[in-house]
């Protein structure tokens, strides 16, 4: 069958078969002898580099086309390949032709071993990577541009938040009413809390917020602007290695802000010395607990509960949004407020909790 047929094949037919294989190669391919005279070229080569197929046989590589293949380095490397000293692998050259943009080519060449030591044959394959390189460069440029745009955006967001925070502080300086001033200072702190998160998000991987460094930065920011004497009152953060989505971290951060503002305002009405506020967060699977505990005067001993303020509204809305519950307890002394989420609660009313907000 197949071996028998081969035996019957005359050397001429074998040669024709080899030439036909080269000619039909989809990738530009050249078959040359040891003197770099062309034995066969693929149709794809002629098409890609505008060579008349009829002009090819018997010509040397130097004479191909209008001499654009007369590239000294290529010749010396092909000669070295023919003598078996070298092998061309992924060698890059620029093909320059009159009136045309240069093409970047990647060359591979090897000496063929086919049982006829007398006559040397070289196979040279050519890949035109001009477009691919342009696309790569474009991609690099686009990535760079994207990074610049992101920086620009981050810069603008920070500036905008600075403007809002500045205007609120200016207003707080200028109002007469102590109550209004307090509201403006609180609003300023809320803006700074959003800013702390924004800053944290800009440096973390998308969709991946580590809560410990975030809460630490947040409480530093609250402490810096709302605690005058750090010797008297401490604000500590105890958070495990939990990671949440950006959305959830925004809500958690705003809840922490409100609870801490609340504790600062109500837990230590007379004397802050020895005052301590602890922010904690622990999670296990879908269950988590956020807590803000103070060692102040406690709920009953504090000022008679005024009507729930903006802070309470914010805490309730965000807690609902997270599918969690607010628990207020006695820390003896002081108050412990926990936002508790269990996997079951989340499944029980996800639609209602979203609709409520």
């Amino acid at each position: 069958m197949a071996p028998q047929q081969k035996q019957n094949m005359s050397p001429d037919i074998e040669l024709n078969l080899a030439l036909a294989v080269v000619a039909s190669s989809a990738a530009p391919l050249l078959l040359l002898d040891g003197d770099l005279t062309l034995v066969a070229v693929s149709d794809s080569f002629c098409r890609a580099f505008e060579i008349d197929p009829g002009s090819v046989p018997g010509r040397s590589l130097r004479e191909l086309g209008s001499g654009e293949w007369n590239i000294p380095q290529l010749h010396s490397m092909m000669k070295a390949t023919a003598s078996g000293f070298a092998k061309i692998e992924g060698y890059e050259i620029d093909l320059r032709r009159d009136g045309k943009e240069p093409r970047r080519l990647v060359l591979n060449a090897q000496k063929l071993s086919y049982g006829n030591e007398g006559s040397v044959r070289l196979l040279l394959s050519i890949a035109d990577v001009t477009e691919a390189r342009i696309a790569e460069k474009l991609k690099d440029e686009m990535l760079k541009e994207k990074a610049i745009l992101l920086q620009e955006l981050q810069h603008r967001v920070a500036n905008s938040l600075q403007i809002i925070a500045s205007v609120l502080m200016q207003s707080a300086r200028n109002v007469q009413s102590e109550e209004t001033r307090t509201h403006l200072v609180d609003a300023h702190q809320r803006v700074m809390s959003v800013a702390a998160l924004q800053k944290h998000l800009a440096t973390s991987k998308p969709g991946d917020v580590e809560l410990r460094p975030y809460f630490t930065a947040l409480c530093d920011s609250i402490g810096a602007s709302m605690i005058r004497d750090h010797n008297q009152l401490s604000l500590d953060v105890t958070v495990d290695d939990s990671v949440t989505s950006a959305d959830v971290s925004v809500s958690l951060g705003l809840i922490v802000t409100e609870l801490v503002i609340n504790a600062l305002k109500h837990a230590f009405p007379a004397d802050r010395s020895g005052g301590r506020i602890k922010v904690g967060y622990q999670s296990k699977g879908a269950d988590w607990k956020l807590s803000v505990t103070d060692n102040g005067v406690g709920m009953s001993a504090g000022a008679p509960a005024a009507k729930p303020g903006l802070g309470t509204g914010i805490i309730e809305a965000l807690t609902r949004q997270l599918g969690a519950l607010v628990e207020v307890g006695d820390a003896k002394p002081g108050t412990a407020v926990s936002i508790v989420h269990t996997g079951i609660a989340q499944i029980a009313n996800p639609v209602r909790s979203r609709a409520a907000v």
């Binding site: 810069h155 603008r156 967001v157 600075q162 500045s166 502080m169 800053k199 800009a202 810096a224 602007s225």
Partner: protein, 141 residues
């Protein structure tokens, strides 16, 4: 010449006004500039400026860093505070003994940093309003 003068450089008007107030509340005198060129012109004209508090990005370039370099070369003793909404620049780009404040900043942060800088190297003249802070010591740099 009673108070140490701080030059505030910021291209965003509202932030500039607020930064000036923060500096004044900290017990300093503030002058302001809206870009690096104006800042340099002021530094050439006035010899009583002892700190520059500048935004890094002004008019879409990092003009604040260039300004900081000029200040370090021409007026080395001046305290430098740089601010940006972006992360702090690399150490190689940052002026020696300069301080970085992230935007948005609070008055408390700005005041703290100013006080720390002037506590380490006070302005070389006596301050009038100096409630216990003692910046008035004669500098020895």
């Amino acid at each position: 010449m009673e108070k140490a003068v701080v030059l505030v450089v910021e291209d965003e008007a509202l932030i500039r006004i607020s930064a000036v107030h923060m500096v004044e509340d900290a017990g300093f005198m503030a002058v302001d500039a809206c870009d690096a060129d104006e800042a340099i012109a002021i530094l050439e004209r006035r010899k009583d400026i002892w700190a520059v508090f500048s935004d890094i990005i002004m008019g879409s370039t990092k003009a604040g860093l260039k300004l900081a370099k000029v200040v370090r070369n021409r007026w080395p003793p001046i305290h430098l505070i740089l601010t940006s909404g972006l992360n702090a620049p690399d150490k190689s780009e940052f002026p020696a003994n300069g301080r970085f404040i992230a935007k948005p900043y609070t008055a408390e942060h700005v005041v703290t940093v100013l006080h720390e800088l002037f506590a380490s190297k006070p302005a070389p003249y006596r301050l009038k309003s100096d409630p216990g802070r003692n910046y008035g010591r004669v500098a020895r740099w």
